[in-house]
């Protein structure tokens, strides 16, 4: 294909969105801090999704109408930092395509150049190693290309983009420390890969083409047909390609072969990597190789993303409507899991909004139930530092008496609700709540998803981390080991009397009982209480008060 109209362009962006969606989990995992709260992939795909919905609603009949709807849609839908940058990239592309009827590859280059220009305008001191670097490198590379066919052109752009993404690790110290590539850059190239697949008539759900030395992502839950991602570098650039292709696709898929400078890189998914090696060695010696178990990776991702399907926030009723219409003051709490829902209900919370790390409820999630409830006043416990903003915004839009408290963890809300239950009608409820929030230290144990160095501690992937008040204070090979670091944490133990712990959906019953025992022996002076919390990601969360 050499020219595309606005209908094709829309298809391309849709394919880009599908590609982003399918790799969202991977892009999310590329965050710098090892706690699993990255949301770049989600933000980028939601931004693009809103943009496309907006374009759809506008029923465009010309290129101009389509791109301007897409551009304004991406602006409205921009979510998070990466979403904002993506909206600028789309806006730049839109201004370049605005006055065209059909787009040649040269026009597409112009779009990339304009996208770079617009995206860079919004930053004072651009840093190398971000999504901006990636889009600029692709635009620069595209300017030197004279390929008329879109499939060839896109292949080349993506190659340049991938290269740029790989290099981000060495450009930004924070990325190097975490051993990751820039998530935004990865997201952008993933989007373009979706476009390329659309030119080739493939769907993003089918195997991805890659020439890069990076792990193949598969985030589906089912068993993989071919389990091992096998990459071999063979010391010859004149292999009988047809023969190899025929033989390897017999018992494998996603085959990619590329030759250059006396070497051939062969990438295949197979169940018999040893046969592949044996077969290839007939032709030439193998320079190096890599075999990865994709089933393991897929399981790990699925587990990380949906810890337990039946208890994941998505399947719970997102909002429990106002249970009692005639109360004076309704409590609105954000809860991260089924167990917490139950506890909050028992403590008399009127409105429960699901949310937590990586699942921040929107302003509307607060606004809707507050609007429909007749209570005279509302007290909101956001229970996460990233949710406080949304809650405050809801408070200002509600047109009712809504107070947002500064609670950064569900356990703080529990402490406050307990205190509030025993306070009389004349007490200053806000002061009581704030006081117990202040007096409650919270901690959590979770697994590191990446190697990293944080606050002077070297974290390895899979380590259990103990976070107290959101700061990393200890590490261990097991939940128990991490939890024992609590004793050395900077909590003012002198005026504390109670430790409560809440079991996450990933933590087994028996292990939890053992932990409770351990804590009881470690802290003989304190009372230990244990509950089921049902939160995702965090094996254990708890409070000291």
């Amino acid at each position: 294909m050499k020219e595309i109209g606005y209908v094709e362009l829309e298809e391309l962006f849709k394919a880009g969105l599908a590609s982003l969606e399918s790799r969202k989990a991977y892009v999310n995992s590329l965050n710098v801090f090892p706690v699993p709260d990255g949301d770049t992939g989600t933000n980028m795909s939601l931004t693009l999704k809103t943009a496309l919905e907006e374009a759809d609603r506008a029923h465009p009949r010309t290129m101009k109408e389509f791109v301007s709807a897409l551009s304004s849609g991406s602006l409205i839908g921009a979510r998070g930092n990466s979403g904002v940058i993506l909206s600028q990239i789309i806006r730049g592309m839109a201004t370049a395509a605005d006055n065209k009827l059909a787009l040649t590859t040269a026009d597409f280059t112009e779009m990339l150049v304009k996208a770079t220009e617009v995206a860079y305008k919004a930053v004072v001191t651009p840093v190398e190693g971000t999504i901006l670097t990636v889009v600029r490198r692709m635009a620069e590379g595209a300017s030197g290309l004279h390929l008329e066919d879109y499939a060839d052109y896109m292949t080349e752009i993506i190659r340049i983009g991938r290269q740029a993404v790989q290099e981000t690790t060495s450009q930004l110290p924070a990325l190097a420390e975490a051993h990751v590539v820039d998530a935004g850059g990865e997201g952008l190239v993933t989007l373009l890969e979706g476009m390329l697949m659309s030119f080739r008539g493939e769907s993003p759900a089918s195997a991805r083409l890659t020439l890069e030395n990076e792990p193949e992502e598969q985030v589906s839950q089912q068993e993989l047909t071919y389990r091992y991602d096998t990459v071999m570098l063979v010391a010859s650039d004149s292999l009988p390609e047809d023969e190899i292709r025929a033989k390897l696709t017999e018992r494998g898929d996603s085959l990619v072969m590329a030759s250059a400078g006396g070497l051939t890189k062969i990438h295949v998914h197979t169940n018999e990597p040893y046969d592949t090696i044996k077969f290839l060695m007939q032709f030439a010696p193998i320079r190096e190789g890599r075999i990865e178990d994709m089933q393991y990776e897929a399981d790990a991702y699925t587990a990380a993303k949906n810890p337990r399907a039946d208890q994941s926030p998505a399947t719970r009723a997102p909002v429990v409507g106002c249970s009692d219409q005639n109360v004076d003051r309704a409590y609105v709490v954000v809860s991260p899991g089924a167990g917490f829902d139950e506890i909050f209900r028992k403590l008399g919370a009127h409105i429960i909004v699901s949310g937590g790390d990586t699942m921040n409820p929107s302003t509307e999630a607060f606004l809707e139930p507050i609007k429909t409830c007749n209570a005279k006043s509302f007290m909101v416990f956001p229970n996460n530092k990233n949710i406080i903003m949304a809650a405050r915004q809801a408070a200002s839009l509600a047109g009712k008496d809504v107070q947002v408290l500064d609670s950064r963890h569900p356990v703080q809300a529990i402490a406050a609700l307990v205190q509030l239950a025993s306070c009389g009608p004349d007490d200053d409820a806000i002061a009581v709540a704030n006081e117990s929030i202040q007096a409650t230290d919270f901690f959590s144990v979770t697994r590191a998803t990446k190697d990293a160095t944080v606050s002077g501690l070297t974290v390895h992937e899979g380590d259990f981390m103990l976070l107290v008040d959101d700061n990393l204070v200890g590490l261990g090979q097991s939940v128990e080991e991490a939890l024992t670091c609590l004793k050395d944490s900077p909590v003012a133990w002198a005026d504390k009397s109670l430790i409560s712990i809440y079991r996450g959906s990933d933590c087994a019953d028996t292990a939890f009982d053992a932990l409770t025992e351990t804590l009881a022996t470690r802290f003989p002076d304190l009372e230990i209480q244990a509950y089921f919390g049902g939160q995702a990601f965090y094996d254990i969360v708890g409070s000291v008060e």
């Binding site: 602006l75 409205i76 921009a78 979510r79 998070g80 930092n81 979403g83 904002v84 940058i85 909206s87 600028q88 806006r91 201004t95 617009v118 305008k121 919004a122 930053v123 004072v124 001191t125 840093v127 530092k385 990233n386 903003m389 915004q393 950064r408 008040d469 959101d470 700061n471």
Partner: protein
């Protein structure tokens, strides 16, 4: 901050400088804006002077209340950029100074939006 062997004092000036740099690194921020009325006045007269943009107050309860006054690029979703400033600047500030996040309150004032005509 106290240490058994001495004291580390972090001046208001140093804190402001860190906040300035961190804010200017946020995507969408095209510049800082004058804080005080007097500064606003001189800024209007002499366009060359670079505005301070940051105000730091130490409250009695020990919380550092910082306000950053920014100009943003036109065509961006202001709420998202402001949210990014809040999280990113606070993160940088706290990790550089070692202050716990609950000791820092960060306010963002969007002072103006930079508009550019096409082709400029």
């Amino acid at each position: 901050m106290t240490d058994p062997k001495g004291r580390v004092v972090l001046s208001k000036n140093a804190m402001e400088e860190i906040l300035r740099l961190a804010t200017l690194n946020v995507y969408g921020v095209t510049g800082l804006a004058p804080v005080t009325f007097a500064e606003r006045f001189t800024h209007a007269l002499t366009l060359l002077s670079s505005p301070k943009g940051v105000d730091v107050q130490l409250r009695n309860d020990g919380v550092i209340e910082a306000t950053v006054h920014v100009r943003l690029q036109y065509g961006l979703r202001v709420s998202e950029v402001a949210r990014t400033i809040c999280s990113q600047v606070r993160y940088v500030f706290c990790s550089m100074t070692g202050l716990p996040e609950d000791r820092v309150e960060l306010n963002v004032v969007v002072w103006s939006i930079r508009v550019e005509r096409e082709g400029q």
